[in-house]
């Protein structure tokens, strides 16, 4: 690896780690409020896996930038997180200590987000496994073995909602329509990816995965007669540059709260 590739690689690692961390946090919010108790268990495990993957990727990024994984995970300014916008919105009802919980949670949105993201992440980790940067290629092999279970879980729910009674199907279709531009935003490249491709650290840019993703997504839609939204629709971009929406304001405040109260707390 040339010295010029260090910074783009660190940034690329942060991009993936942030995706996993943010989805992990959001999925953890289902613990206790999922539609069935088995899904309380499943989403807790999914969240734990994703945050574990984030920790591993932050560790790799920290080695390149002479910092530590906690610093990267919880002490960066709000605008220095590079996850895709798809991952930051809250899909659960908002908890309120008064008991007057806000409505608006939507299981179908949680499932659509997971499935569209995991199909993308499967393609992304597939190319990263071919990286010429050995620590990354090796670590991602381990991650891929765990992600098999995630895809399996998503697929089961996708088919259950799509083939189920009318309300599930309607909610699924509404969620797809609402999230489609955000899903296309997954393919926004991180700055400096061309350098990584030139050096073989990355076999393809993130943008180049889009066509493969559509090929993976299309049969899942076709199987249930769900029309595939326009794949040339304008994607919701900005996430990879640190530009986010209100979902991120809320999540950032919450997930960094303890760290801000006790910046040097150890436990």
């Amino acid at each position: 690896m040339t010295p010029e590739a260090r910074e783009p690689l660190a940034r690329y690692l942060l991009t993936i780690a942030d995706d996993e961390l943010v989805l992990g946090y959001r999925d953890s919010e289902w613990t206790g409020v999922a539609p069935i108790v088995e899904e309380d268990v499943a989403f807790s495990s999914l969240a734990q896996d994703e945050i574990g993957h984030a920790r591993l990727l932050y560790t790799l990024a920290a080695e390149l930038t002479a910092t530590d994984p906690d610093q990267l995970a919880l002490r960066r300014p709000k605008g220095d997180y590079y996850h895709a916008r798809l991952l930051e919105f809250r899909a659960t009802p908002k908890y309120d200590p008064s008991g007057q919980h806000q409505a608006g949670g939507d299981w179908a949105k949680a499932i659509v987000r997971r499935y569209l993201y995991d199909l993308f992440d499967d393609l992304r980790t597939e190319i990263i496994a071919e990286s010429s940067y050995p620590p990354l290629a090796a670590a991602i092999q381990k991650v891929r073995r765990e992600e098999r279970y995630h895809l399996r879980h998503d697929e089961a729910w996708w088919h259950a909602l799509a083939g189920g009674p009318a309300e599930g199907r309607e909610r699924l279709e509404r969620a797809i329509a609402a999230l489609w531009p955000d899903a296309l935003g997954l393919f926004e490249p991180a700055p400096g990816e061309e350098r990584l491709v030139a050096e073989g650290i990355l076999p393809l840019t993130t943008a180049e995965l889009r066509l493969r993703w559509v090929e993976r997504v299309a049969p899942a839609f076709a199987r249930h007669g769900i029309p595939l939204p326009d794949e040339r629709a304008a994607p919701a971009v900005g996430g990879r540059r640190g530009e986010h929406g209100p979902g991120w304001d809320e999540l950032y405040d919450e997930m960094t709260m303890v760290r801000r109260l006790e910046p040097d707390g150890a436990w």
């Binding site: 268990v41 381990k142 073995r145 765990e146 879980h153």
Partner: protein, 159 residues
């Protein structure tokens, strides 16, 4: 150079139980890749079962404490080779059964994350079982139900 031999270190490691499944030890679980006693420090390489496993730090501490009397210890967590359930020894698979955990199915999990073969119940041995949840109380377990003895049970996931 250590006064302790590699064999003694392996023997001591065999006394360290997995914090979440105490019937199995870290050696039979297959998470110890290498032990080196050639230098001033005893070096142990450990492979985590799951990337997000919260027991990693506990096991690292347990190893340091158990080997401490032999001299300075370094426990390195390695990710350059994935731990897979194929690393669990034959004795280790029996130890899982004793804990009421079905051992992981064999074969290429990239093709079949869920076993196509029936999973025998660890309590009664019946194969009249069904999967209830791919996920379980820890990242490494799935939940099953035995229709014969009407017991829920857990299986160590294949990874």
């Amino acid at each position: 150079m250590q006064t302790v031999s590699e064999e003694q270190v392996w023997e001591a490691l065999r006394e360290i139980p997995d914090p979440e499944i105490p019937t199995i030890n870290v050696v039979d679980l297959g998470i110890i890749r290498q032990v080196a006693v050639a230098d001033a420090v005893i070096r142990v390489e450990m492979m985590p079962t799951f990337v997000g496993c919260p027991a990693i730090d506990m096991m690292r501490r347990d190893i340091r404490e158990r080997l401490g009397p032999f001299g300075p210890v370094e426990v390195v967590v390695v990710y350059d080779e994935p731990w897979t359930t194929e690393r669990i020894t034959a004795a280790g698979r029996r130890m899982l059964l004793q804990a009421g955990l079905a051992p992981p199915p064999r074969g290429d999990i990239r093709l079949t994350p869920v076993s196509s073969q029936p999973v025998p119940c660890p309590y009664c041995g019946s194969t009249d079982t069904q999967i209830e949840n791919l996920f379980g109380p820890t990242p490494c377990r799935s939940i099953f139900y035995c229709r014969a003895c009407r017991q829920p049970f857990e299986q160590f996931k294949a990874v």
